[in-house]
Symmetry: C2
DNA sequence: CAGATGTAGTTGTTTAAACAAATTGTTTCC
DNA sequence: GGAAACAATTTGTTTAAACAACTACATCTG
């Protein structure tokens, strides 16, 4: 369905307002799917994102600061997000040896196992965007990159 | 900057995973801008969205159910969102005459004034997406519409 | 027209997001 | 080498999101 029909708005001020609203609407739609997907595995989207980041670093550890830099949705409260991952025993945390202001966070075996459990189901999630051809998907990615460049740097 | 650099991930599983992550990342980036924009006017994004919907209906009223249908980001707790708009005196609420299960919500003059105050600043917000040409913006909108069609109906 | 079913909103409660201020540790620079 | 500036994370507190359970009303069906 077109965005016009979805939100019952006949016309937009211009193409920029339309794409702006369309992006937010599409994201909300996708968040719903993603949240539901994560929920069946008893994990939140952000926790999943952080776990994957830590798996990328494994067997090295990462500091909250550098985790935050590469998070998709930057949480202002990484401390307590990590607290919750510790509760679930998916990560460990200890003071960094070389710089005691910093904290080392590392994914545990249990965390790695959890991700392995989810991996085979990822395609099911991605099916939600498979209405696009591969070429269109790439095109969309490029447009998004270009969009962000307007102010990013 | 490309999504690869932004989240420091060298490669993706495929074009679909990439576009999926790129969308969420772009949205988070845009949410930040939008939130900051709204904040200077002491309003939240959702409140702004609801006010605009009600202005579209004005001088008619709308029920929470139909507001929710056309919201960009559908809140599960519209009752209290409207409570907050009532606190600010931007809307009024009363039981619907013809169907007493329903509630009539209508924007007040103060609400309309508030929107008029924000209107001239909207272009400033849209500047964030003006790195795209008009044609690219339209193309992006179409791709987003197509993306959502995968499961929507 | 009574009981069942469905609909529209609301309320209670748990949990997490947001933001500012504070804490702790490291550099820098006279 | 000590004060000032900065950096990395944490904590406190206010506010809102999430979800389920609930109330009140309408409609349908026999």
């Amino acid at each position: 369905m077109s965005i016009e029909k979805d939100i019952n708005q006949k016309e937009f001020k211009n193409a920029f307002q339309k794409v702006y609203i369309n992006l937010m609407y599409t994201n909300s739609w996708m968040q719903d799917l993603s949240k539901t997907w994560c929920k069946q595995f008893d994990i939140t989207q952000q926790q999943y994102n952080v776990l994957r980041i830590l798996r990328g670093a494994h067997p090295n550890c990462m500091n909250p600061g550098s985790i935050k830099q590469v998070m998709i949705d930057k949480s202002p409260d990484l401390t307590r997000l990590i607290d919750r991952l510790i509760d679930k025993e998916y990560v460990q945390r200890e003071t960094c040896g070389s710089n005691r202001r910093k904290v080392d966070v590392i994914i545990t075996q249990k965390g790695l196992d959890k991700l392995s459990e989810l991996d085979p189901h990822e395609d099911g999630m991605l099916d939600n965007v498979r209405n696009l051809s591969e070429e269109e998907a790439n095109q969309l990615s490029s447009l998004l990159d270009k969009l962000r460049n307007s102010r990013d740097e």
